[in-house]
Amino acid sequence: MVKTATYRLHFVLLFVALLIAFFLNVSLGSVAIPFGEVVSVLTGQGASKETWNYILLDYRLPKTITAMIAGGGLAISGLLMQTLFRNPLAGPFVLGLSSGASLGVAFLILGAGAIGGVLGVLLMNPWSMVLAAGLGSFLVLLAVLAVTFKIKDTMAILIIGLMFGSVTTAVVSVLSYFSSAEQLQQYVFWSFGSLGNQSWQGVFILSLCFAAGLILSVVSSKSLNSLLLGENYAKSMGLHIKRTTVIVILATSILAGGITAFAGPIAFVGLAVPHLVRQVFKTADHFILLPAVLLYGAILMLLCDIIAQLPFTSYTLPINAITSLIGAPVVIWLLVRKRKLFF
């Protein structure tokens, strides 16, 4: 809408910050690796120790990439949801999207025990995790949307999202009653959220989801801009509301569903980052907000992951806890400062 050039410096700085966060994230972990060695591995020369090579290339690098995709992707889906529902409190977590993904994964992990045998083994590959989480979040979003078409009250939609969360918890507890301790543990660890232990194959699948979601978001940015005026104004300017809604929901469920499948439910990034970005970028234009939210989300997630790793110790905290610990105070601070959240 308004010239992008004004924000060029912002974007350059953000990019530099992302690079720094990237190197910090790769360099820090439970095993201390000298920075020089990290650089030589990343530039393809290899480290002086074979274990360092392995740690960096097969553990830390996939984790770092997952962190960037998860942070950026969740932040984007938060931005999309806030505009689509024209509600500053919207986000993948609040609307029950993550609950839906959890339910999908719970059915897969815990239900595999019930179905059992060959089918259970078949269900346990990374693709089926993505499908289950994606399908779960997509179904929840469709339900939320059906309600949106009927009820115009945005508070009602949020309550429905919370209800889906409750239903999920209930269904998961029923499922866990019938499942083995091993499966239960697998699910509980998934729900803590974890960026690590990703195979390169998993990272590849995640990148595909991310790319698809990103393309759909960019394509619908002009429509999202007109939705800022409200549905009726958007319609009067020739916008196809139903088509836009479907595309935006598809983008959100691919992004949030895919990320939740691989990294577990990660709270608050989707909600807080768009609001943080709106403080810095004084615009409502999605063509500027989208890349900004992507970069901010990625940087924030890298930093959260550094904290979660507790560098130089052998402990790793659940990433979900760290993002909540940082995200919730940020939202409160924004509210106290501005007294009102805009979208």
């Binding site: 308004v2 394509v219 801009n225 196809h240």
Partner: protein, 264 residues
């Protein structure tokens, strides 16, 4: 008056019935509506609350289907236009405020260019010229970097009109553009509409409760009552006594001398 008769007809309504489709029969709100809106004229629409002004406006802008009758936009049926095509001919100013208050004034107005821009919505010099013109005419240039949440009702209304202007359509339809405004801003907005009709040759239709102001400024009026919907010049409507049927005559009555309603 003869000069106006010679002008092209932009929008023509023939024997229109408006209302809502329901399972147990249609709920008719008004019927036998006939009028034609000519290029470069200012048309007001008056009627009591709940008489169907908004429904008629929504039907005319294609947001709601007509129950029967015809709406012709430049001689072609309104329903044959796609939403995108319609956006090239009709822009609207609604009673609802923009959903996002985070938009700056210039951003909001530039959104009006959407039907003319590419998939990225990037603005050409022609687009920027249209935006500058809209800002200038509505005297909102000094507000252009303000955010919507900082604006007063009067300023917001001018910005909403500027957005419609930026859309650069021959027809502008406004739903109660003077509500929530003080007497100065009510007169300001209506004079602005009059200016746009005469100087920029826009066809402007608006609904309003400011009957006395509308009588003074408009070229034509649509008067909606329970019994009928009439369309004529304000003078003719006064002569035929249409304004007396507008409200229950026990409480207020129309004084044809002053063109105002007086309390009985």
């Amino acid at each position: 008056m003869e000069q106006q008769q010679a002008k092209n007809i932009d929008l023509e309504v023939r024997n229109l019935t408006i209302g809502y489709k329901a399972k147990n029969g249609d709920a008719i709100i008004a019927d036998a509506i006939n009028f034609s809106l000519r290029e470069g004229t200012l048309i007001g629409m008056v009627g009591a609350n709940g008489i169907g002004k908004s429904t008629l406006l929504r039907t005319l802008t294609g947001m709601q289907p007509a129950l029967s009758g015809e709406i012709l936009l430049y001689g072609k049926k309104l329903r044959s236009y796609s939403g995108f095509q319609l956006a090239q001919f009709i822009s609207v100013v609604l009673t609802e405020p923009p959903a996002s208050k985070n938009l700056s004034v210039r951003e909001l107005i530039s959104l009006g260019r959407q039907p003319h821009t590419n998939w990225m919505g990037s603005l050409s010099s022609e687009d920027n010229k249209a935006i500058d013109y809209a800002l200038e005419v509505t005297e909102t240039t000094s507000l252009s970097h303000r955010k919507c949440y900082e604006l007063s009702d009067g300023q917001m209304q001018r910005v909403a009109i500027a957005r419609a202007l930026a859309q650069d359509t021959p027809i502008i339809i406004l739903d109660e553009p003077t509500t929530h405004l003080d007497i100065y801003h009510r007169a300001y907005v209506l004079k602005l509409l009059k200016k746009l009709a005469t100087e920029a040759n826009k066809t402007i239709l608006f609904s309003t409760h400011e009957i006395d102001l509308a009588i003074q400024l408009t070229d034509y009026l649509i008067v909606m009552t329970q019994e009928e919907t009439s369309f004529d010049t304000p003078c003719n409507l006064i002569e035929s006594g249409k304004f007396n049927t507008l409200f229950p005559s026990k409480t207020i009555a129309f004084d044809p001398e002053t063109g105002r309603f007086v309390i009985k």
